[in-house]
């Protein structure tokens, strides 16, 4: 038993090193003075010059701003559509078109991105011919594409959360005379709020990060941040991308740390409330 514990434990540690080594190396070399990226120039490092170069690179800043706007809108719309779909699948029972909806929400998750991208672009080309809309591809078509693949993920998250708690709560509210909208906003929504929040974050990240689908439905003048990064790194390593990666990793780490602390506090509060309730019943 001991030996196996040792084996799996060292596998875990090595695996974590494997996961974090590239990220750490990128962060370290973002402070390197040399243009040769992977050769540490000890005499003139650490330096912040790549951060300065990054923040004065208008192309990157413009692309980042576009990506943020697209991700905000896509995540918000995907949450609304995904919550509706998740509700329908978890609560409506065997309605007509259930199979269709279940299939269409599950499929985009496993669909190769090149296919999703190609099919969406061909759709936009076809509708432009038929009804004259959209006039060319750009930020609008990117957003529509992102909403579509993001909502599939939100649906899964919301649906599994709804499957995890008892329908009796909603039925009780209904029995006490609450109308469907009231039940949704006072009972269901608060219960699935954590799922909706994590669905939104997931959707935001996926939209912010997507390259392949975006490339198909983007037009001239609508380059998102991943597109700019991809065209830069395709032909080699550039130090300012290291700086960008470091900033993004730090932002994400801070966000995750804050949300973990918040969730812990919430759990602790709930545990205390339960204890108080139990004490009051004695």
């Amino acid at each position: 038993m001991k030996a196996r514990g040792l084996f799996t434990r060292s596998a875990l540690i090595l695996g974590l090193v494997f996961l974090y080594l590239p990220i750490v190396s990128m962060m370290v070399f973002s402070f390197n003075n040399s243009r040769l990226v992977t050769v540490w120039d000890a005499a003139h490092s650490p330096t912040l010059k790549w951060y300065v170069a990054l923040l004065s690179n208008e192309q990157i800043l413009r692309a980042a701003w576009l990506s943020i706007r697209i991700a905000l809108i896509s995540a918000s719309a995907a949450v609304v559509l995904g919550t509706l779909a998740g509700m329908a699948l978890a609560r409506l029972g065997a309605f007509r078109g259930r199979m269709l909806l279940a299939g269409m929400t599950a499929a985009p998750i496993v669909m190769p991105e090149v296919i999703t991208g190609l099919s969406l672009l061909l759709l936009f080309v076809a509708t432009e011919q038929l009804i004259g809309w959209p006039k060319g591809v750009g930020a609008v078509t990117i957003t529509l594409a992102h909403i579509t693949f993001c909502m599939a993920y939100v649906t899964v998250v919301v649906q599994s959360r709804l499957a995890g708690f008892d329908e009796a709560l909603e039925e009780a509210a209904m029995d006490l005379g609450a109308r469907p909208a009231g039940v949704f906003f006072r009972i269901t929504l608060p219960l699935i709020l954590p799922a909706i929040a994590s669905g939104w974050l997931l959707a935001f990240t996926l939209s912010w990060d997507d390259l392949v689908i975006t490339q198909f439905v983007a037009g001239p003048g609508s380059s998102t941040l991943p597109m700019v990064i991809f065209s830069k790194v395709r032909f080699g390593v550039t130090p300012d991308v290291n700086a960008l990666a470091t900033i993004m990793v730090l932002l994400v780490a801070t966000g995750i740390a804050i949300s973990t602390v918040w969730m812990r506090a919430r759990q602790r509060r709930r545990a205390r409330d339960l204890q108080l309730a139990a004490a009051a019943n004695l």
Partner: protein, 287 residues
């Protein structure tokens, strides 16, 4: 209405696009806008249906396409096996660690997933290059005297895929291994089974569902992977995701690009259906 709005959205932006791809794959390329022939046309007042198989014929006769399909399947299969070999012990170690440590370890596994996929793949260029971190370290240690060609090889693609998809392998495996009943292993030990034997006869069969789910989650996207082979892979042998993209953007051959998409789907239809069945069963079990 709850079901209607998302259904309508997905019909328009998911199902119909698909039908369009299917349709265009039976057209022929032409110099016009749009650059393909119509399937239905009117001739002498009667509808005429013209199905062209040329795009598909092209795919199955040109050696470049056939080899890129086989190559993609091979890369995806090898990467999935590597991912399993790396991920299984990790998932096992997490499932067997203290209950208080598990959320922390899981977060460490998932955290890289929240940072940009593109940048994480890019990081490997810096590590694998001729004058990259790994070669420099090995030369400094005196293990090698000339840099190894690591970048633009199959090896680099395997590393990139294992690295990017490892969380998708570990999470379903962990979810499965965590539920195992430890007393079964004790019983096996009491009956004289040595740890390795107990693992092979008790733990491994029980974790089969987790292995299948994790492997499908890696294999399916790996077949159509575009970014990893483009940044890290060989230049003389491309994968099908790249073939599709090149046909569309470089050659502007929409029918062939559409036919490539249809063939990728045909390759993936069995794994995708397997995966959806597993998912459904899990959702039902959660109820």
């Amino acid at each position: 209405m709850v079901a209607g709005i998302p259904t309508l959205w997905l019909l328009v932006l998911f199902l119909i696009p698909f039908i369009i791809v299917f349709r265009i794959s039976f057209s022929e390329v032409r110099l016009a806008i749009p650059p393909y022939t119509p399937l239905l046309s009117w001739r002498h007042g009667a509808p005429l249906l013209q199905l062209h198989w040329s795009a598909y014929r092209f795919l199955f006769t040109d050696a470049l396409y056939v080899s890129s399909y086989l190559y993609s399947l091979k890369v995806a299969a090898v990467s999935t096996l590597c991912c399993l070999a790396v991920g299984y012990p990790m998932a096992y170690a997490i499932a067997r660690s203290d209950a208080a440590m598990r959320p922390v370890l899981l977060m460490l596994i998932v955290l890289p997933f929240w940072t940009s996929f593109l940048l994480r793949v890019y990081a490997w260029i810096g590590l694998l290059k001729n004058n990259g971190v790994i070669n420099n370290a090995l030369m400094y240690l005196g293990v090698i005297h000339h840099p190894l060609a690591l970048l633009q090889t199959d090896f680099a693609v395997y590393i990139g895929i294992v690295y990017s998809y490892l969380p998708f392998m570990i999470l379903p495996l962990y979810a499965n291994l965590e539920k195992h009943d430890g007393t079964l292993l004790e019983a096996a030990a009491d009956l004289g089974a040595r740890p390795v034997r107990a693992f092979v006869r008790v733990t491994l069969p029980q974790s089969f569902a987790g292995i299948v789910a994790g492997s499908l989650l890696v294999f399916i996207p790996a077949v159509g992977e575009y970014v990893i082979p483009t940044l890290l892979g060989r230049t003389d042998q491309i994968m099908i995701g790249r073939v599709l993209s090149d046909e569309f953007f470089e050659n502007r051959d929409w029918p062939v690009a559409s036919a490539v998409a249809i063939v990728i789907l045909l390759l993936l239809v069995v794994p995708i259906m397997l995966f959806q069945r597993l998912e459904r069963r899990q959702l039902e079990a959660a109820k």
